[in-house]
């Protein structure tokens, strides 16, 4: 390996030896292609003409009036397949094509990443297999149907907690057995090096576009950028461009589930008892676990945030105090989901609603001219069944 992919003491490559040749191949391809003109222009074409980039930056007139500051949404929900996940899926699928892989495998929680991979697989002619926890299959039926229509094979995972964590376990096992012809298209800034850096590269376009757009609309940078954090790829995607602009406050919002005390949540940073530094799925980062290091089962109304570990770069950003990490509970997220739908005519994904919930909570501390950008990472169509059950 050229690098161990460390973010301070976080990150790294904690995988069985069998995966090392594949990670070496992937790192070398990524280092070569990220500066390759042909690759980048091909990817940009796909993003522009197929996925629908650039996405707009929408000013929320009603919500701004209601909350007393200027609120913008970066509209990743308008992308093809309905979330930011397609940025990474197309990027990695194209990379896999360049290195001659024939098959894509992926894990999915909410199903958004699975749909994005199934889409990229259809477009770029891969055989695609998506691992999905049986519990998630149950609560995201629509996305399962979409993946099937897109030609992907959805494989239910019945081990462990039957959610994202277990889907990653299965995908890693599959990859271990089939590394020679298969690319594992990991969906968030997680896992062993080079995944966190590579996925950041593919998602950074969100922040780059937003920087230009906010300068056009406001002539200055925002005061605050807020994003939800499961693994944390949409957050890294929008934060990365502003890391060095110290006056721009960055806030990541984890899934508070039923509240910290209940133990039923997915906040790796905000539960001092269960959230500690550990090693899971190839990387060293904050992990929800017991005293002995057995991984704790997580819970959130938003399947896409329901995961035991956070991307390693988030751990260093928190340690450096560059990003502040907080959480919103299920209840707050659902309330925000309803408010945004009603006020702005935009139905957010339950994941993204966590970011909206935080802004609703803190808006009264902001001044009238303060500018907040929320990364609206996905749309809520996939969540309607679930919302219907909760509201009724």
């Amino acid at each position: 390996m050229k690098s161990l992919g460390k973010f301070g003491d976080f990150g790294g490559i904690f995988v069985p030896e069998t995966l090392m040749p594949a990670l070496e191949e992937l790192e070398s391809a990524f280092l070569k292609l990220k500066n390759d003109k042909k690759f980048n222009s091909e990817l940009n074409e796909l993003l522009k003409k197929y996925a629908g980039r650039p996405t707009p930056l929408s000013f929320c007139e009603n919500l701004s009036k209601k909350l007393g500051c200027k609120i913008y949404l970066k509209r990743e929900d308008l992308l093809h397949t309905g979330a930011h996940k397609i940025n990474n899926a197309l990027g990695q699928a194209l990379l896999a094509k360049y290195i001659g892989k024939k098959r894509l495998i992926a894990e999915t929680g909410a199903g958004q990443h699975g749909v994005a991979v199934a889409t990229a697989g259809a477009k770029l002619n891969f055989q695609t297999d998506v691992y999905m926890g049986a519990k998630d299959i149950e609560r995201q039926k629509l996305n399962v149907l979409r993946m099937k229509l897109l030609g992907a094979n959805v494989i239910p995972v019945t081990n462990g907690s039957k959610t994202l964590k277990d889907a990653i376990n299965e995908a890693l096992r599959d990859w271990t057995a089939n590394v020679t012809d298969t690319h594992y298209l990991l969906g968030s800034v997680l896992g062993p090096h080079p995944y966190p850096s590579m996925i950041k590269f593919f998602q950074s376009i969100i922040g780059k576009e937003m920087k230009k757009q906010i300068l056009e609309s406001e002539g200055r940078f925002p005061d605050l950028i807020v994003a939800c954090v499961g693994g944390g790829s949409n957050a890294i995607g929008i934060f990365n461009e502003f890391i060095n602009d110290k006056h721009v406050k960055l806030v990541g919002v984890e899934a508070g589930g039923s509240g910290i005390k209940s133990g039923k949540h997915a906040t790796r940073f905000n539960d001092k008892r269960l959230g500690r530094i550990g090693i899971i799925h190839g990387t060293k980062t904050f992990v929800l676990q017991d005293k002995y290091g057995q991984i704790h089962n997580t819970y959130s109304v938003a399947a896409g945030l329901d995961y035991c570990a956070v991307g390693p770069e988030h751990s260093i950003l928190r340690q450096m105090k560059r990003v502040h990490y907080t959480y919103a509970t299920d209840k707050e997220a659902i309330e925000a989901f309803k408010i945004l739908s009603k006020e702005e005519g935009i139905i957010p994904a339950l994941e993204s609603a966590h970011a909206v919930a935080h802004v609703i909570k803190i808006a009264k501390t902001m001044k009238k001219d303060d500018i907040i950008v929320i990364n609206l990472s996905g749309r809520g169509d996939k969540d309607l069944d679930q919302i219907e059950e909760i509201i009724i």
């Binding site: 790294g12 030896e17 550990g278 090693i279 991984i295």
Partner: protein, 267 residues
């Protein structure tokens, strides 16, 4: 407690390969797994490879994951693992290797883990998700506590890495006979034989072959091909799973199976 060196040299002089038997500590519960370990030794296991149960064992297949779940549900944890080793040591001095995932060692405290290993009589520690790139600290603690290192080599590990890995091994090389995860299989791939020869170019250290070894003829094949030992895991764990309701039958079937395997290590 016998060292790996002694075991492999002794077996070599008798023209035998080592039979390495794997089980998960605490499967199906503490007492049963202690009896299983004793049964393995009595039936002829030359080396015990004992797994610490982990909630997310990405290098293992369904058999061993299920064993991990059984052990964890019955209260196994790292403190009890060392109690277990201590108790097992009263009974046998065959080499004991531990197989763990990195997080369990990290949470216990790496220093404390290796010290406890030394005190209780562990011969080696293999960390399933630790490639050599991340192994500096574990290697240092191994040296300090006179614990041997074991690393895996897979069929797609290139020659440069094979050299680097074999240099770091002080116990034995765990050669993964096929791509993928642990789990019993019908046929042993022919490529395994070339694989052993490929590793031999770089080292005279003992090579044990694991993953997918479940039948007496598998054991015989890998020993004939020049391996110093054969590692059998999932197939034994499956016998535990199959006989959960009847401990006597469980121990008898394991004993019978291991005795049969052991006969095939004699060339």
């Amino acid at each position: 407690m016998i060292s790996y060196k002694e075991v492999f040299e002794n077996l070599k002089s008798k023209k035998e390969g080592a039979l390495v038997c794997f089980i998960v500590i605490g499967d199906s519960d503490y007492e049963t797994s202690l009896e299983i370990a004793k049964t393995l030794v009595n039936a002829g296991a030359d080396i015990l490879e004992l797994g610490l149960p982990f909630s997310d064992p990405i290098a293992d297949g369904p058999s061993i994951q299920a064993a991990d779940v059984r052990a964890l549900n019955n209260g196994m944890n790292t403190d009890k693992v060392f109690e277990y080793i201590k108790e097992l040591r009263k009974f046998t001095d065959v080499p004991i290797g531990l197989l763990s995932y990195y997080n369990l060692i990290y949470q216990y405290g790496m220093q404390k883990f290796y010290e406890k290993g030394f005190i209780t009589g562990v011969n080696s520690i293999l960390v399933a998700d630790m490639p050599i790139e991340e192994s500096d600290s574990a290697v240092a603690h191994s040296e300090k506590n006179k614990i041997d290192t074991t690393f895996m080599i897979s069929p797609i590990t290139d020659n440069k890495r094979i050299k680097e890995i074999t240099d770091k091994v002080t116990g034995f090389i765990y050669a993964v006979s096929r791509l993928g995860i642990t789990g019993a299989r019908q046929d042993l791939e022919k490529s395994t034989l070339n694989f052993i020869r490929r590793i031999r170019q770089f080292t005279n250290k003992p090579i044990c072959v694991g993953f997918g070894i479940s039948k007496p003829e598998h054991v015989r094949d890998v020993i004939k091909a020049g391996a110093d030992g054969a590692i059998v895991g999932s197939a034994i764990v499956d016998l535990v799973a199959k006989n959960l309701g009847n401990k006597q039958r469980m121990l008898a079937s394991i004993s019978h199976y291991v005795r049969e395997l052991k006969t095939t290590t004699r060339i």
